[in-house]
Amino acid sequence: MSDSLDTLLANQKVWHCRETPGVANEQAVPSGYAKLDRKLPQAGWPRGTLIEVLTNETGIGELRLLMPALAGLAATELGTIVWVGAPYQPYAPALQQWGVEARRVLLIQPETVADALWATAEALSSPGVLAVLGWLPQLNIRDSRRLQLAAASGRSLAFVFRPAQARQQTSAASLRLALQAGSRGTEIDLFKVRGARPCRIGDYEGSQAQGIYLQPSQATMSASTGVPQASAFSPTDALPQLPG
């Protein structure tokens, strides 16, 4: 092949609309959400490549998105799930409820950005790791390429959490998605997908999420406390008026 074509292909600005051979051999991990699996190129989260999740909010489904895949992976394979620089304390009973054994989880709390990056790359290239969840607010293109290389050297699931503003920056990740919460569930914006078209998925949890929360109409008044269920209140002004 000519040198000029190689240079062109090596340029990250050129979008490759086919699966790269190295990735195609890796089997993907089903995400557990039917809507999402239909849109992902290998019908699941690709292994051995960097996946970026962009969100500014906590609690909108950024972890629920990964939990079925992590549980499925942990149930079938041996290995550790490494969390680097998590913003809050991952809660062991909840992990257990989702089917991820707490003893499979390794928490790393680095003090500096450089250490967090190093620890993420280290975990990605270790053979005994099933998945890496890294919270890396600052990540330039060189660092993301370094992580992509580390991810490609192993076969773990590599998730990197970044703020929504990072969407404007270039990244070496082969899959990038932004989460946006709305009144009707959380929407996934798959804006970079290697091997498939970018698309949006509204309310990715769909009917699966209906199970976990009662509909407002089903909620009842609790007789013992007199606290109205499923009522809206504002934490700042409405609270004192609630009957105690």
Partner: protein, 547 residues
């Protein structure tokens, strides 16, 4: 014919073990010497076996005193069944009336200025090992008898020291110089020497006749036998070893067990008494002198590599792995510096150690250029290859993490520090804050309320309606946040579930009475909130996010 029949007599259950009723004295087998093997060395000259027992009555106190400077009035305490009692104390405290076995409160009532320190068994153990090392100067056969005795076979050393008295004096003086006071006894059997040092210090029994005479009057109370056994002897009118020996052997074995009979036989030298000999702990130390003072980490790694290769050879010949190594850098002037590397799993291979040293050196700031690099290790364990366990073996398979896992943990800990690499465990506790523990990898696992499997059951791939109430948030705020302190950006909150009331913890003073709800914020986040109960102005708090 008769002997054969008795040999084949079946042993019936319930019958006591067929023990020789008369002590069996091994008859010496004459050594046949043939002229055909002239090169064979003759059997070593038989020397008289003589055991010196040294008993250190105040070893606990002396060891602690040697280890650190203690105030005049000090007592060492130990926790026994939840109560702290005095185990040892200083002379001044003893004169004031403090005794072993006293409770802490009683001792403090006697001497209000008493300093209390927790007894450290490892200090005492180390002191006894030090004494054994000292004893190696006098004989090649030393036996340690915890907690506070040492046995020396001195018969073989008599020619060098002249007499056992001279040897004993030298040994006890050397001990006294190091702050350990001993009482001693000498006998032809180790068991007799052990008892005599306890019951009548200073006695010696250098032949069988003398041994019988001195042992005759040894009180049974000296022996470490259970109280009810001693009372049984007392009721039979038996108080000393001599009286004990006069009892019929078969009856003695039936009543008090064949093991005690054997013990007596060993003390009297009728039965052989093999003892495990103390072995000097091995230690690896290697130093490398550099041609020039260096502080560049890559050159230091090269120097360390040479040393690690020596360590690796040392370990390989002994089939050992090292639990930790210490690397030290000596400058031309000034104090030395260094660090200890303690990996998650003991290792043997050189590359393993070099890797860890390299990571550590990258972040290590050498105070001054080094001229000598040293590598030391004295904690080893036998190497165990990766052996697959047999399938049909019962019992839980030990939780052994894979090699890849421990390598990763070691590398992370080497750079980020042990505290930054943590594991989590779920605990059976209704209170959300206490339902989880998080601790550094490698630190001892905390005792969980429920041992074994985790108390938190898997709710399925996606929690269903039936167990909505029990679903826990993936993110927890270990300190709940009051809504009044939250930024307005959270907006209005909508309760989404029925109440889950948690009332627990009245027994440990951290009780909580709370009503928990699942809720959603205006921005679409799912949160776990609670309201306090039983207080005048119940507040709302944010406990976690459902992730």
């Amino acid at each position: 014919m008769r002997s054969r029949r008795s040999f084949f007599r079946p042993w019936k259950p319930g019958e006591s073990l067929p023990l020789p009723l008369e002590p069996v004295v091994p008859t010496p087998v004459p050594v046949k010497t043939t002229g055909k093997t002239p090169g064979r060395s003759p059997s070593p000259a038989k020397h008289r076996v003589l055991w010196l027992a040294a008993q250190f009555p105040a070893l606990t106190w002396e060891a602690h005193q040697r280890d650190s400077v203690l105030p005049e009035f000090t007592a060492l305490t130990q926790e026994v069944r939840g109560q702290h009692t005095v185990e040892a104390c200083s002379m001044a405290a003893a004169n004031a009336g403090v005794r072993t076995g006293m409770t802490m409160a009683a001792a403090l009532a006697l001497v209000p200025s008493l300093t209390l320190q927790v007894l450290r068994p490892e200090v005492v153990e180390e002191a006894l090992q030090g004494i054994a090392l000292l004893a190696e100067r006098f004989t090649s056969q030393v036996v340690i008898l915890p907690p506070n005795q040492v046995l020396l076979e001195v018969g073989a050393s008599l020619r060098l020291f002249g007499s056992w008295q001279a040897l004993a004096t030298q040994f006890l003086d050397a001990c006294r110089e190091r702050g350990f006071n001993a009482q001693h006894a000498v006998a032809t059997t180790p068991q007799a020497a052990e008892w005599l040092a306890l019951s009548s210090p200073g006695t010696s029994a250098v032949d069988a006749e003398q041994l019988r005479q001195v042992l005759h009057d040894v009180s049974l109370c000296t022996l470490n036998w259970p109280l009810d056994t001693l009372q049984q002897f007392e009721s039979m009118g038996v108080r000393t070893l001599g009286e004990c020996r006069r009892l019929p052997r078969s009856g003695f074995a039936r009543r008090f067990g064949p093991a005690r009979l054997l013990l007596l036989d060993r003390a009297y030298g009728v039965m052989p008494d093999p003892r495990p000999t103390f072995r000097v702990p091995e230690r690896f130390a290697a130093e490398l002198e550099l041609s020039d003072e260096i502080d560049r980490s890559d050159l230091l790694v090269e120097a360390a590599t040479l040393l690690v290769e020596r360590l690796s050879r040392f370990l390989r010949t002994r089939q050992w792995v090292a639990q930790e190594v210490e690397l030290r850098f000596y400058p031309l002037l000034g104090p030395m510096s260094g660090f200890v590397i303690r990996p998650a799993e003991a290792g043997q291979s050189a590359s393993h150690w070099i890797d860890l040293i390299q990571i550590r050196l990258e972040r290590w700031r050498l105070p001054a250029p080094a001229i000598v690099v040293g590598l030391y290790s004295d904690r080893f364990e036998p190497a165990s290859g990766d052996v697959a366990r047999l399938r049909f073996e019962n019992g839980p398979v030990p939780a052994r993490q894979s090699r890849a896992y421990s390598t990763l943990v070691e590398r992370l800990q080497a750079r980020l520090g042990a505290n930054a690499v943590r594991v989590v465990r779920a605990v059976a506790d209704a209170r959300p804050e206490y339902a989880m523990r998080s601790y550094p990898v490698g630190s001892p696992e905390p005792v969980l309320a429920v041992a074994g499997s985790s108390p938190w059951q898997c709710l399925g791939r996606y929690p269903s309606v039936n167990n909505v109430q029990l679903a826990r948030p993936l993110w927890l705020r270990s300190i709940p946040m009051a809504f009044s302190a939250l930024p307005d950006a959270l907006g209005r909150i909508c309760l989404q579930s029925e109440v889950e009331r948690i009332e627990s913890g009245w027994w440990d003073g951290r009780d909580m009475t709370r009503d928990y709800y699942h809720a959603s914020t205006e921005s679409g986040a799912r949160v776990w909130v609670f309201r306090e109960r039983g207080v005048a102005q119940p507040g709302w708090y944010l406990q976690g996010y459902f992730g």
